[in-house]
């Protein structure tokens, strides 16, 4: 084990850098305490060595996963002349934060950010409202043709939607929604998957909740809004997270539907600009970093729900 010492160094560095991850470290600290109290015998050499190997692998994999973004970050802090320097500068020197303020002058970045927020906000809101409304009766109200509606909806998940994008483009044109925000959002304003997920959640609510509301004379809408919706909050959170990510990162549909580059969201704008700005890579790098920061922040804040939602939705 000739590389034991540097690994320890990395391990220590990880410890300090991860320390600000409050929730996470609290949890691990607790589990460590419980483990220590359970076994007070000295840790064997084998255990130490295996821990070192595991940490080395963890750090190596983390570098592979984050490396491209770190490299992009490093590039975004370089002056243009240093970008092609050989050997490459891993840590840019002198650090040039000006790229980040410059990109706001070179491209209408605020406009793109505003467009992205509008598109994402509207897409998520429509999905939550409409999918919840659609899922609820399918789960809890007996009405004629209910099963027919449900199976018709679910069957679209299996049937191949061969020309989906093409026909949707034609429909959007016929509705005179070409080059509008609504034209981007509307085709994905309801998702069969979300309806399925929410219906599943509504089904699991015990009947007593509904009966007590009914006895108290609550209207159908009140039962839905004040009793049922709060009960399916985890499923709604999953829908929000999924759609937030999908809308925030969407590129090709906005490119197809929008004629006006000023209306582009971030991902589409980046794709468009990387051709025009290829002479100055630090600018593109800075723009790219700016575009991913909001979604990474949202992810870090919601990571628990995010990961649970991902896993839960896939496992169904």
């Amino acid at each position: 084990m000739s590389n034991a010492t540097p690994n320890r160094g990395i391990e220590r560095a990880e410890r300090t850098s991860a320390a600000d991850e409050a929730g996470q470290s609290r949890q691990t600290r607790q589990s460590r305490q419980s483990r220590q109290s359970r076994s007070s015998r000295p840790v064997s050499l084998r255990k130490i060595i295996s821990a070192i190997i595991v940490y080395a692998l963890l750090v190596f994999t983390a570098l592979l996963c984050l490396g491209p973004f770190l490299w992009l970050l490093s590039t975004s802090l370089k002056v243009n002349a240093n970008v092609y320097k050989f050997p490459p500068q891993l840590i840019p020197w002198p650090m040039n934060f000006k790229n980040f303020s410059d990109v706001f002058h070179i491209m209408p970045l605020w406009t793109y950010i505003k467009n992205t927020i509008l598109m994402t906000g509207m897409g998520v809101l429509l999905n939550v409202v409409i999918c919840t409304m659609t899922a609820y009766p399918l789960a809890r109200i007996v009405f004629p043709a209910r099963n027919f509606v449900f199976y018709a909806i679910v069957s679209t998940m299996i049937l191949p939607n061969a020309a989906g994008m093409i026909v949707n483009f034609i429909i959007i044109q016929k509705l005179h929604l070409y080059n509008t925000l609504l034209g981007i959002v509307l085709p994905s304003a309801v998702s069969v998957f979300n309806i399925f997920l929410l219906r599943q959640a509504f089904i699991t609510i015990p009947n007593d909740m509904e009966y007590s509301g009914r006895i108290d004379g609550a209207s159908e809408f009140r039962i839905f809004w004040n009793i049922m919706v709060p009960m399916v909050r985890p499923a709604i959170a999953t829908v929000v997270i999924f759609d937030f990510m999908a809308f925030w990162n969407s590129m090709i549909w906005p490119i197809i539907i929008l004629d006006d580059k000023e209306k582009y969201p971030l991902a589409a704008a980046l794709q468009y600009l990387q051709g025009n700005l290829s002479y100055n890579f630090p600018y593109i790098a800075a723009g790219t970093i700016i575009s991913v920061i909001p979604i990474i922040i949202i992810f870090l804040i919601l990571q628990k729900q995010f990961i649970n939602g991902m896993v839960g939705a896939v496992k169904g």
């Binding site: 410890r15 983390a62 973004f69 050997p87 679209t156 191949p160 061969a162 995010f306």
Partner: protein, 300 residues
């Protein structure tokens, strides 16, 4: 049947219809109608230029004598090779983060970051690393693996593998999470019992862990086969709408986009889409059969 409903039930049914109306309306316009309309579209010459005519199977004849379509189909099938690679690496990663060591939560989050960021951002980062003067060539040279700079983005023999690597890199964290959930859902009593019965570590893995993980492997494989056939953004960002260089990264979705939104040949694009959809359908029915056999109704 409606006559049997009481007055209260009738009002509830009315409420139900009111509630599902917006969702169902949107689904009819943007999901059902495209399915119904997309089929006949493939038998017409619908385009931006001509008056629309029914042309029968001509689009399909054209597809099967179109060398670009064959290339795109071939490349899409090659792309499916990423699936087993993703599964193996993702399982290894899941095993790695399934330990109870400190900070393992931090690493899980780190591995998931590529999943949440946009493919455009990821593809731009990789495109830059693939440059001849880029960091990848530098690393390869420093490690002594190459002696001259490789033009990953320009040489046709590297281009497809290059985008595949981006797809794999971005997807790994996602599948890792599913496998992690899979590993954690295996009751530890089962493994402990086997150990007590004298099974060694390999036997536990072979006889307990792998069989119980199989439904997850099949599910992830299905998801990534679908993903591999639909792959679009990374190729569009890195190699443009034609799948350059020399069609080497042309896959079916990129070709469909080109035919539809660059040549405005909607009828032909719909026909290509239909052929691909049928291939996917056959593939997924086949996979579903196996998933059922593996038992998605899983021990819990």
């Amino acid at each position: 049947m409606a006559a049997k409903l009481s007055k209260q039930q009738k009002s509830r049914a009315g409420f139900a219809y009111l509630m599902i109306a917006p969702g169902v309306l949107l689904l009819i316009v943007f999901t059902f109608y495209p399915i119904v309309y997309g089929l006949p579209l493939a038998f017409t010459n619908y385009s931006a230029l001509d008056t629309t005519k029914w042309i029968g199977l001509k689009n399909f004849h054209r597809a099967f004598s179109d060398p670009d379509f064959y290339v795109s189909l071939k490349n899409s099938l090659i792309y499916v090779v990423v699936v087993p690679i993703i599964q193996i690496i993702a399982i290894l990663m899941a095993v790695l983060v399934n330990t109870k060591l400190r900070f393992v939560g931090f690493f899980r989050v780190a591995y998931f970051i590529p999943v949440v960021t946009s493919m455009v951002a990821a593809a731009i980062a990789w495109k830059w690393m693939y440059e001849e003067t880029g960091i990848l060539n530098y690393i390869l040279r420093t490690l002594g693996l190459t002696h001259h700079d490789i033009a990953f983005m320009v040489e046709p023999k590297y281009a497809l593998a290059g985008v595949m690597l981006v797809t794999i890199w971005k997807g790994l964290g996602y599948y890792m999470m599913i496998y992690l959930a899979g590993l954690q859902s295996i009751p530890s009593e089962l493994q402990e019992a086997a150990r007590i019965d004298g099974a060694n570590r390999m036997q536990v893995i072979r006889l307990i862990t792998i069989p119980l993980l199989m439904p997850f492997v099949l599910l992830c494989s299905l998801l990534s086969v679908m993903g591999a056939i639909r792959v679009f953004d990374e190729i569009f960002v890195m190699h443009g709408p034609k799948g350059d260089p020399i069609n080497s990264t042309l896959v079916t979705s990129v070709y469909t986009y080109k035919v539809a939104f660059q040549d405005f040949d909607f009828g032909y694009a719909a026909a290509i889409g239909l052929v691909v959809a049928l291939i996917i359908l056959v593939f997924s029915l086949f996979m579903f059969r196996y998933t059922r056999k593996g038992g998605l109704t899983y021990y819990e």
